[in-house]
Symmetry: C2
Subunit: 103 residues, 2 copies
DNA sequence: GCTTACTGTAAGTCATCACTTACCAATAGT
DNA sequence: ACTATTGGTAAGTGATGACTTACAGTAAGC
């Protein structure tokens, strides 16, 4: 399951901060690492993980690489959560009616 | 941020499997651990992490404890993702119009 | 009361992983 | 061509965390 990669990618605080840094749009590695308390290579490694999880994508422009959030990755996660949500809801209402019958 | 706990809780494969085991409704620790390749204490520890993340809750009944998914925890996560999603979308459309203007 | 079933906690071990420094590759500007 | 900027990769290290076995506690059934 590719969801595994997504969750473990977002588990690390630094990596999640980097990811959040892309909320507002495309940024380069140096821009992103300037906002983080770790070294630039560390940020590079984090971006690699995020990319492998399908959460970000890179677009090289000159010597710089602009990273952006990959919307399909986010959509996948939302879909997963939604299916989960409906399952939980129906299990819950089933439980309710079952308890009602027992009363 | 409590989201941190949620993401790191769902990052571990075994823990996510346990969590998924609760999709269909309440289960005891022994029931859950029967479906997992790890020992029962390991499952107990995972459940503790899930509970601290606000993702599950326990209801003691006799010597058994029935674990269920805490719907508020899921809702929180969905809300977070939704805010993220709208940010990303608006950043994307802003990028589009900007590129359009430059052409 | 005593045993049995169910669960959480303690202590210790091993692997994973986030981070650093050092290095290399490629494009841009002068 | 040469230098500077940008960024990915390699190797090594330390800490975190997932797991095991052993133990302790509590409710239920006989």
């Amino acid at each position: 399951m590719t969801n595994q990669l997504v969750f473990s990618a977002l588990a690390d605080p630094t990596r999640r901060n980097i990811f959040e840094g892309l909320r507002s749009g495309a940024k380069t590695v140096t821009e992103l690492s300037a906002a983080q308390p770790v070294s630039r290579p560390a940020v590079s490694q984090h971006l690699k993980v995020l990319q492998e999880a399908g959460l970000v994508q890179a677009e090289p422009r000159g010597t710089r690489r602009f990273y952006t959030i990959r919307r399909e990755g986010l959509a996948e996660l939302r879909t997963y959560l939604d299916s989960f949500w409906s399952d939980v809801l129906s299990a819950y209402s089933a439980e309710i009616t079952r308890n009602f019958g027992e009363k």
